[in-house]
């Protein structure tokens, strides 16, 4: 093996190890230093040391223990530096156990603190997603850049700025207080789901699905559900993502062209994944605290997942679930989806009334969703010219190249 190839093999090995060990090492560092930004820097230094030493010295017998030991030594050094710099720190530290006695073994709560810090509301959405993938997912900057199709420097900047923002806002390395818990957990779940949807239905670019990004979101969602097993919405989010991901194989043709739900070959849906989705939704329901937003969305996705065809789908039940969802989490997108379900359960005329009401509210103005649904309903009602005009409007508004192509084809086919 050439030297470059050997270095590359070690790097891939470290990347793999870090996905497994990184979050716990970073969490332990953050607890020892009480400083999220410093912990993340030290963790990256440990990785850099491994990358510098292992190609020549060989990969240690227990590489995870090596990384942990190096990280720990860095934490102790940082602690000593702080002690020397700051007399007061020394006084406070006096009563603490010596460096070797620093409590190190990370607990799940430390990883949970990482999650809440990385998804803190002072950060932008992009920063939350990048930081979550980095510290909770254990991904490298290069891997994150590849997932979001942005330059490596962009991700680096996002992470550096995010750490500065957290420091400036003096965000503590803690789980939220009980009175903030619900809202903060929702924010965390929102970050994971945004990551998933960005992969599931790419808003920009020439690919409709980025399964790698969606799979990372799903993995982090499963980790999160394990960290807060008493939270129904965490399990429900996993269920929703499992159901949606079960259709990946059926959602695009080999050349990347999207296939819409009605035309998908349902035999290509991943039954194992659907089974895991149902199990996760059952875990959420078993907690007996009722269904909220993600559980209702998961229940709708389950209706599709278990239906043998579009015609045999329980559309009446889906309409009902959308009605409840509309009350729990009112949104024009939910109403639009309810309209589609109504068109299947009752007929296009009843659905068009809902869509026209939405159009007059102007809530979805500027997006391709409303005109594309309206076009579909008009087409079914035989109002072909109006339908074609709606599809043309929708195509002009679509930001994803593949979506635009589908809508243009729909207009041309009428």
């Amino acid at each position: 093996m050439s030297e470059a190839a050997a270095v590359d093999a070690v790097r891939r090995r470290i990347d793999a190890l870090w996905r497994i060990e990184g979050p716990r090492i970073t969490a332990a560092l953050a607890r020892a230093t009480r400083d999220f930004g410093l912990a993340e820097d030290l963790a990256q230094e440990a990785v850099a040391d491994a990358l510098a030493q292992w190609p020549e010295a060989g990969v240690p017998r227990n590489p995870a223990a090596w990384l942990t030991a190096v990280a720990k030594r860095k934490a102790v050094d940082a602690w000593r530096r702080a002690e020397m710099l700051d007399e007061r720190y020394r006084t406070i530290a006096h009563g603490l156990p010596d460096a070797e006695g620093l409590s190190w073994e990370p607990v799940d709560d430390d990883v949970l603190r990482l999650v809440f810090t990385a998804c803190h509301p002072v950060l932008s959405r992009e920063a939350q997603m990048s930081l979550t993938l980095r510290v909770v997912g254990g991904l490298t900057t290069e891997e994150i850049a590849r997932l979001f199709l942005v330059p490596v420097a962009t991700v680096q900047q996002r992470i550096v700025r995010a750490k500065k923002t957290l420091a400036a806002a003096q965000v503590p390395f803690e789980v939220p207080e009980p009175h903030e818990w619900g809202g903060r957990l929702s924010a965390v779940l929102g970050v994971v789901y945004l990551m998933f949807t960005e992969g599931y239905s790419a808003t920009t670019g020439d690919r409709w699905i980025r399964p790698d990004l969606a799979n990372e979101a799903l993995r982090i969602g499963r980790v999160l559900a394990g960290l807060v097993p008493r939270e129904p919405e965490a399990h429900a989010l996993v269920a929703l993502m499992e159901f949606q991901a079960s259709r990946f194989a059926a959602r695009t043709r080999p050349d990347g062209t999207p296939i819409l739900l009605a035309d998908q070959d349902r035999t290509r849906w991943d039954r194992g994944q659907i089974g895991r989705g149902r199990a996760a939704l059952a875990r959420a329901d078993a907690l007996g605290r009722g269904r909220r937003s993600y559980a209702l969305q998961a229940a709708i996705a389950e209706c599709h997942a278990v239906a043998p065809s579009v015609e045999q789908t329980d559309w009446a039940r889906i309409v009902l679930l959308y009605e409840v969802l509309g009350r729990v989490a009112p949104s024009p997108v939910v109403d639009l989806n309810r309209a589609v379900a109504v068109s299947m359960a009752t007929g296009p005329a009843a659905a068009l009334a809902i869509v026209d009401r939405l159009a007059s509210d102007g809530a979805l103005r500027g997006g391709h969703l409303l005109p594309s649904v309206r076009g579909e309903l008009l087409a079914r009602l035989g109002r072909t010219d109006e339908a074609r005009a709606e599809f043309t409007t929708a195509a002009a508004l679509a930001r994803n190249d593949r979506t635009r192509a589908v809508l243009e084809a729909r207009a041309a086919d009428l």
């Binding site: 980790v223 349902r266 849906w269 039954r271």
Partner: protein, 142 residues
């Protein structure tokens, strides 16, 4: 990507494992499975019942029609006794998880990538590929 870890053990290893308290094996395997679940990578896994209970048999296709026998288990050097399916980002990550499995001398994990739809993309329109998917659906109903 998905990988399957196929657990194999020699007859001697299986005999040796019977000297270890079963509870100890349960605890170690339980902790390993829990680490896979907590990391969000475990998709499936099963352990297979001991062949000595007599539930195992072999269908041999070297003749037509195939012959069902109690199996050449006495002669096999390595017995397939369980599996995991994990979802990971790389071959290296699969290797890392596999090497953490609490197994001892005489045991092996054979690690294989699970073929996915993309592997058959060139044959997606093939009648038999589609039929196979249909069979799988019928068999795999949750």
């Amino acid at each position: 990507m998905k990988y399957m870890f196929i657990m194999r053990a020699t007859d001697e290893a299986i005999e040796a494992s019977k000297q270890v308290p079963f509870e100890e094996i349960l605890n170690k395997m339980g902790a390993y499975n829990e680490s896979l679940i907590k990391a969000g990578v475990m998709l499936a896994g099963e352990g297979l019942a001991d062949v000595s209970e007599g539930s195992a048999f072999v269908v041999d296709f070297s003749e037509e029609p195939p012959v069902v026998t109690d199996g050449p288990y006495g002669e096999t050097h390595e017995l397939f006794n369980g599996f995991w399916i994990v979802q990971v980002a790389s071959k290296e990550e699969a290797a890392e998880w596999a090497s953490r499995c609490p197994l001892g001398p005489g045991s092996k994990l054979e690690v294989r990538r699970v073929a996915e739809a993309d592997d058959f993309a060139d044959f997606a329109d093939n009648e038999y590929i589609q039929k196979e998917a249909l069979w799988r659906e019928e068999l795999g109903k949750p």
